[in-house]
């Protein structure tokens, strides 16, 4: 794998500003994680990998609330993106989510439960088969994944399960932005007596039915997940539909 990687790195470096090109690496985890080799094997098996500064993963270096650690993935500097995989090396459940940007830019904000300090990474596969990897370390005082959801302690949420609230911003500095929140306990299954219960898939389309983004979500996504997307043009409502692993479905229309 070494040879084609180097070719890819040189080719890319030629297209990038010098500072970014210097940071581009085709080997050696810049986050220096003991679990990188495992991560690479699990998620990127066999394909060429580049540590690429154009994949931005934004998260606080210290997470105040390990149940709700904000993560923003911005891969809009890359073209021809097929999919984006988000994972956290040291989480008991490593895979956080996957998203497939179609009509929407490769930009997604969400929150995750972290059990301990860990790299949070996004691996972006482009049409040429190369994985572009970005990430950041998040330090936390544990408890995010094995702490019960607030919902687990109260039956209240059942009445509101899969209720979606959201807004679109069509003007101002955040024009094109969509934010939505879905009522769901997102139980990890790691708390004794509470089986895994989480949203599995969300589809975003425009009013005409054209797909903007598909998101596959896993256990580490925070309770009552909140997502931030960016649209290039706001033409009408954004339609969101999805289901959880128990087969409950939801559908919502978010007006501009």
């Amino acid at each position: 794998m070494k040879y084609p990687l180097t070719i890819a790195a040189i080719a890319l470096a030629a297209l990038m500003p010098p500072a970014e090109a210097a940071a581009l690496k085709d080997n050696g985890d810049p986050l220096d994680s003991a679990r990188w080799a495992d991560m690479e094997k699990t998620f990127l098996a066999g394909a060429p990998v580049l540590f690429d500064p154009r994949v931005k993963v934004i998260a606080p270096s210290t997470a105040e609330n390990p149940m709700q650690v904000p993560v923003t993935v911005d891969a809009t500097a890359l073209a021809s993106i097929v999919e984006v995989v988000v994972f956290a090396d040291f989480n008991p459940i490593v895979q956080v989510l996957r998203f497939f940007p179609d009509g929407a830019p490769a930009y997604l904000g969400f929150r995750v439960k972290l059990q301990q300090s860990t790299p949070v990474r996004a691996a972006v596969r482009t049409a040429d088969g190369v994985w572009h990897v970005g990430g950041t370390w998040v330090n936390t005082v544990g408890g995010g994944c094995t702490a019960p959801s607030a919902a687990a302690a109260s039956p209240e949420w059942q009445k509101r399960l899969n209720e979606v609230s959201g807004r679109q911003w069509s003007e101002g500095p955040n024009a094109g932005r969509v934010r939505l929140r879905i009522v769901h306990p997102m139980d990890t299954g790691l708390v004794a007596g509470t089986p895994a219960f989480h949203i599995e898939e969300i589809n975003f389309t425009d009013a005409a039915g054209k797909r903007l983004m598909r998101v596959q979500t896993y256990e580490p996504v925070s309770e009552n997940p909140v997502f931030t997307l960016q649209r290039t043009v706001v033409d009408g409502a954004l339609e969101a539909s999805g289901r959880d692993n128990n087969g409950n479905v939801f559908q919502a229309s978010i007006a501009p």
Binding site: A59, T62, P70, G109, G166, R167, W169, G172, N174, R179
Partner: protein
Amino acid sequence: MKRLFSILLVVLAGGVGAEDFDYHLAVQAVAPDVYAFIGKTEDFTIGNGGNIVNTAFIVAPQGVIVIDSGPSLRYGQQMRQAIAQVSDKPVVLVINTHHHPDHFLGNQAFADVPIGALAETRQGIVSEGNAFAENLFRMSGDWMKGTEVQAPSRTLSAGKLEVAGRTLHLVALNGHTGADLVVIDESSGVMFAGDLVFNGRAPTTPHADVGHWLTALDRLETLVRDEGVRVLVPGHGMVTRDATPIRQTRAWLNWLTATLRESARAGLDMNDVLARPLPPEYVSLPMAATEYRRSVGHLFPAIEQEALESGR
């Protein structure tokens, strides 16, 4: 060379005061027979051993009343020694204003004395005390050695309390936590406000209900006016003779919630909110950047929910 190096190490250790685990507690007289120990306006560190909190005591006719016991066993012990330098009367009651660890982890040094707190505070100490203590072991290191949770043994409730020949007015409020006890010593006019009031240090919000907190501050300001309060001992920061720190705490909470609401309405996500700079008036306030960051984590999800739900 080796010797020089070890001398240097001793000097460094002495510089942070960690070598003998002496908090150097200094008794500050705030009114006749009323004294306080004023902590640093910092976060818990290995350097300060957790001495970031104010504790106090009243020398009453028949004994000493202690208000909050500090962040560790060592602190409680040193506090008790310092009290003994001022009065040879026995300690008759320890009061914990709320269930935050810097206010009750010195209780162990007063295990032979009744320790009182509001019912919800007692409950909070029992259920969350160990997790808090663990966190302080991580942040303050060996200063915490031997510290264990000593839960209060007596439930206090709002109203007048006669102790050792002194009348205390107990005011049960909430907002900083689910139960915040304010103590007013009638004969001296000293108000011990606990963490409802911060002075010259950004307030902490891990268990805050800001709406309730603001209501509590209004009540405190009324009490200061109507009950002849002459001295205000905040939970953190310098003692004052007026209500300025009450207004200061209110201004911070109002700014904080306005900022978070406005951010949520403008479509900011939590990372965008964290990246917002502090306004000029708070840039040099101790702990402002840290507490802002923490408060975003504690308070933004609920405020964001409000904004998203009202947007439909």
